[in-house]
């Protein structure tokens, strides 16, 4: 097997740098691919953050520092980079790295397709970035790219240049990478589980990977269709799809775009939810409360996610409002269920608060504000007032950007010891947490207030108005405080890789299978697997005996007797001898 061959080359002592580089470039190991996703997405995340600092510098005061064209290009690339090149792939990084370990698999179902999906992603990302170098610059119509401002319709005053085409093609490639990845995740979860790992024993992060995979698979082709139509419109058909003057329909783009991009919000937040679920389970020493209702809530969110896309279009005048309002309100119910389950997991728990746990608690607090402000937007008449103002900017950053980022940072602190065999520094971690937590609240809570006062989004300068000037200055300060927090994080990563305290195979007293192997794991993942009788096999191993008489222990651990889909997996015990 390719993975085993890779493992052998890596063990040669004195392998020179070229060999190491070649090994990473040609690897099909899900762990290495996951780590490459993480580094790449992290780097793009820093680029996206730099864009946000440029925007905040421009908006700190009235008047302009950079041209309107530059500002439009920067805010477009901030959104595009953060969504397509940071949040989505960072989720893919953790799903790649941890999911196969959590289900006791050797690797992904299709390791080569997994590698292909990473390289397509990287190529798409580079294409987007290179658009800075072409004449006319990058795409500059927002990450939503609503036509006809993206088209050369004849009456669009400043039709965008080749950068727009590079954006369309780049995002098609990124979508293709996502689709490959999702098929891989789904097949791996359905067919590669270790014996005893039934569906009701999957760790919650693996469940979120499964639902995320389904969302990607069902929604991304629709985005791809929209992007191809957009490309045709710009290069030949002259607007036949989206330009009304040529017989097109601009709202068609919005429907197709949001049919993907609303589920995409869940594609970004669900893996983060999965991470904090696992983190809560470990650091409270309790089973995650309401495991089955968590899974059902997850599935409900996924399903509802497909029938609410038009709530992004309430003010277009082309939407049947009551239906989309009702469906949107309903999403509050399963998300509420998850929130209460997380809190109850900590209730009467034996809780400790390392940085991973702090970020998970931070996730709850930020997601709470994001969820409640979402209800404001769901109420259509209130949305008429708030749509396209800074209120919506604050709302969606609280949920899918910052809450998701907090979940992913929790994942970094949680899985770093598994990935690199070393702890991240806790002191720096706490400093990072507090700087970021204060910074982002200063930014996004103030944006909510600014939006209430009617400041529209996507403007590079604003009317001199005493309230707006002060609030914008506060937001800019908050942005720089957050950036300082991320610099601490960056330093922590470098510091910990070099001088971090050694971590054993199970530094956190983990509950799921990734902690049943060495840190970092060997190329073939496991030498042996413990018996899997619940969603917490390692917890059972550690505390099972002591809890034998606890009437609540194991009550929710699924049906015995079913060995799930693990039948095709080669018996892991035989590998011990090899």
């Amino acid at each position: 097997m390719a993975t085993l061959a890779g493992a052998q080359t890596s063990t040669y002592a004195g392998a020179n740098a070229w060999r190491v580089i070649l090994e990473w470039l040609t690897t099909v190991d899900h762990k290495k691919i996951g780590i490459m996703y993480l580094w790449t997405a992290g780097a793009f995340g820093l680029v996206g953050m730099a864009f946000s600092l440029v925007m905040r510098t421009e908006l700190a005061q009235t008047g302009t520092i950079i041209s309107a064209e530059t500002y439009n290009s920067i805010f477009t690339m901030h959104g595009s980079v953060m969504i397509f090149l940071f949040l989505l792939p960072v989720g893919a990084a953790f799903m790649n790295y941890s999911m196969p370990l959590q289900i006791g698999a050797l690797d992904m179902a299709f390791p080569r397709i997994n590698a292909l999906s990473f390289w397509i992603f990287l190529f798409g990302g580079v294409l987007l970035t290179l658009s800075f170098a072409v004449e006319g610059g990058t795409a500059s119509a927002g990450w939503t790219a609503y036509p006809p401002v993206t088209l050369d319709t004849g009456n669009n005053a400043e039709p965008p240049g080749a950068g727009m085409d590079m954006w369309l093609v780049g995002v098609i490639l990124l979508g293709q990478a996502s689709i490959f990845g999702s098929v891989n995740f789904l097949v791996t979860i359905f067919k590669m589980r270790a014996p005893g790992m039934t569906m009701w024993r999957l760790p919650l992060f693996t469940w979120t990977t499964l639902v995320t995979g389904l969302l990607i698979l069902l929604s991304t082709p629709v985005l791809a269709a929209a992007l191809v139509l957009g490309f045709i419109d710009r290069n030949g058909a002259e607007g036949a799809f989206f330009d009304p003057a040529a017989g097109g329909q601009p709202l068609l783009w919005q429907n197709l775009f949001w049919f993907y991009s609303h589920p995409a919000v869940y594609i970004m937040i669900l893996p983060a939810m999965g991470i904090v679920s696992d983190v809560f389970g470990v650091f409270t020493r309790r089973p995650v409360f309401g495991y089955r209702s968590m899974v059902l809530a997850l599935i409900a969110i996924g399903l509802l996610g497909f029938i609410v896309w038009a709530h992004h279009m309430f003010t277009t005048g082309g939407v049947f409002l009551p239906f989309f309002m009702g469906a949107t309100f309903l999403i509050a119910v399963p998300t509420g269920v998850k929130m209460f389950n997380w809190i109850t997991t900590m209730w009467r728990g034996s809780n400790i608060f390392p940085t991973a746990m702090l970020f998970s608690v931070g996730f709850l607090m930020l997601f709470l504000i994001g969820g409640i402000t979402g209800v404001f937007h769901a109420a259509v008449p209130v949305d008429f007032a708030l749509h396209d103002t800074y209120f919506v900017v604050g709302h969606f950053h609280y949920t899918m950007s910052i809450a998701a980022t907090f979940g992913f940072l929790a994942g970094c602190y949680y899985w770093f010891p598994k990935m690199f065999g070393k702890f991240m520094n806790e002191g720096l971690g706490k400093l990072h947490f507090w700087l970021l937590f204060i910074g982002v609240n200063l930014v996004f809570f103030t944006q909510l207030l600014l939006g209430l006062d009617g400041m529209p989004r996507r403007i590079n300068d604003y009317v001199a108005n005493p309230g707006w000037e002060l609030m914008n200055m506060l937001i800019t300060i908050g942005a720089f405080v957050s950036a300082a927090g991320m610099m601490v994080f960056l330093y922590n990563v470098v510091y910990s890789l070099k001088w971090g305290e050694r971590a054993g195979s199970d530094p956190w007293e983990g509950t799921t299978l990734e902690w049943a192997t060495t840190s970092p794991p060997p190329a073939h993942n496991f030498d042996s697997l413990p018996e899997i009788r619940s969603e917490r096999p390692l917890f059972d191993l550690r505390f099972g005996e002591r809890l034998q008489d606890d009437p609540h222990y194991h009550v929710n651990n699924g049906h015995n007797g079913s060995n799930g889909g693990g039948a095709k997996q080669p018996d892991t015990s035989s590998r011990e001898e090899g």
């Binding site: 005053a157 009304p244 119910v333 809190i343 309230g467």
Partner: protein, 451 residues
């Protein structure tokens, strides 16, 4: 209190509390600074309903936030691991609790849905034109300005049905003598521009000003459209020194017909607490009844390209009496009927080969968006009056290439010298407004001074 004391004893706990307090005071400062945790005071009936609904959602949101946040802080500070071998309860579910926290939120969102639904019905309700006088304002968004037009009856009706599919259509009117060259007609919500008249047949360009060609039946009233866009002298933003003003009366139902001539825009007046997108290819309707007189700063809310941030306008609400005066003044007298035919192929052919082609120039004038600043007949709006300009053609070409004052630059690949000559030729055919209405141009002053 015990939890608090326990917390204060640890170094990390103290850090948590101090930083938390700092964060909260910063947030409070922000709140105080803005003094605004609510939507602005509404100046319309519909806005009032929206604001009331906002407070309902806000109240529920605050209660939920406080309860859930308190629960989070409680479990975080109350339940700490005391010893390394401590094992907590392994209770993993509780049906009563789970039913409650699924059921209660469901009830809350169902109630919110019902309330929001009725508010939505209320604010979208159209006025019945038989019951009351409705003020109709046609809004046109363009990169990057707004034009507002109104219409008065022309005193004639459409004599034959017309279908929606032709760019230039011949129409039959009961009394075609009332139309004059370049007059904008309105049938339903569609604007048409008069191009020619031959005998009883009037040729019109369909769907102008961003409106959409629709089917019209014989007997439809024909209106005369006039531009009602005022401008303010003092600006709020660079390059927006003259923001367009839309004038409306207090107390009457107003119907805004919102159209776009190019890309998406959104008609957004924060104090109306509502917005509606201007979507090319559609004419959308927004109903409001303004309750307070005053000037209300407004701006485009849907990204529309480079100068999106400068697409500012003002809504000016006047008392009914003041509005009537303003309206009568703006509408003016219907133009005197023109005898005989005008427009048509022959005339265009005669002009061709001379200085420029005025028919082509007229098309260019609108497709380049010159009318946004200079008005539909070059009468002057935000930009100076250019109808029958005294500036010579070569100097006008220089103005396109290296503009004096705030005009957009047009490079030769966008509009050629010949095309400028065409526009120039057309501008020599349109009527120049009376001296009092002329908006002066620095260029024309320079020419007059012999520069």
């Amino acid at each position: 209190m015990r939890a608090y004391q326990r917390l204060w004893r640890t170094r990390f706990g103290r850090l948590t509390l101090v930083m938390g307090a700092a964060a909260l005071s910063l947030l409070a400062l922000t709140g105080l600074a803005s003094a605004q945790v609510a939507l602005p005071e509404a100046v319309t009936e519909q806005g009032d309903s929206i604001r009331t609904l906002y407070f309902v959602v806000f109240a529920i949101g605050v209660v939920v936030f406080v309860i859930v946040e308190a629960m989070i802080l409680w479990v975080v500070f109350r339940y700490k691991r005391k010893s390394d071998d401590e094992l907590p309860t392994q209770v993993a579910h509780n049906t009563t609790a789970e039913v409650l926290w699924t059921g209660i939120p469901t009830v809350i969102v169902v109630v919110l849905f019902i309330v929001s639904f009725f508010v939505l019905q209320d604010i979208q309700a159209a006025a019945d034109p038989d019951d009351e006088d409705v003020v109709i304002v046609d809004v046109q968004g363009r990169q990057w300005a707004w034009a507002f037009s109104y219409a008065v009856p022309l005193g004639t009706e459409l004599a034959e049905n017309i279908s929606p599919d032709l760019a230039e259509t011949e129409i039959h009117l009961e009394d075609p003598s009332l139309v004059v060259p370049f007059m904008t007609l309105k049938l339903g919500v569609e604007h048409m521009r008069v191009v020619a008249r031959t005998g009883d047949v009037v040729t019109v360009e369909r769907a102008v000003n961003g409106t959409v060609a629709i089917r019209h039946r014989a007997g439809t009233e024909v209106m005369r459209v006039f531009n009602g866009t005022d401008t303010v002298a003092e600006g709020r933003l660079q390059a927006a020194d003259n923001t367009p003003i839309v004038t409306v009366p207090v107390g009457q139902m107003i119907r805004f017909n919102i159209a776009s001539a190019d890309v998406l825009h959104a008609f957004y007046t924060p104090q109306f607490l509502t917005k509606l997108d201007a979507v090319p290819g559609r004419v959308q309707t927004l109903w409001v009844r303004v309750t307070d007189a005053g000037d209300f700063m407004s701006q485009c809310a849907e990204f529309c390209g480079r100068d999106h941030a400068r697409m500012i306008y003002t809504v000016r609400a006047l008392s009914p009496a003041d509005y009537d005066d303003w309206f009568e003044d703006k509408a003016g007298e219907a133009p005197a009927p023109v005898e005989g035919d005008f427009g048509g192929e022959e005339e265009v052919e005669q002009e061709e080969g001379a200085v420029g082609n005025p028919a082509n120039g007229q098309n260019l004038f609108f497709s380049l968006g010159c009318n946004v600043c200079h008005g539909d007949t070059g009468e002057g709006l935000v930009g100076p009056t250019i109808a029958m300009t005294i500036v010579p053609l070569d100097r006008v070409i220089t103005q396109y290439r290296e503009p004096l004052e705030a005009m957009t630059e047009f490079p030769p690949d966008q509009v050629s010298d010949q095309e400028i000559a065409d526009i120039y030729a057309w501008l020599q055919t349109v009527p120049r407004p009376p001296e009092a209405d002329i908006i002066p141009s620095k260029l024309a002053e320079l020419i007059e001074a012999g520069g």
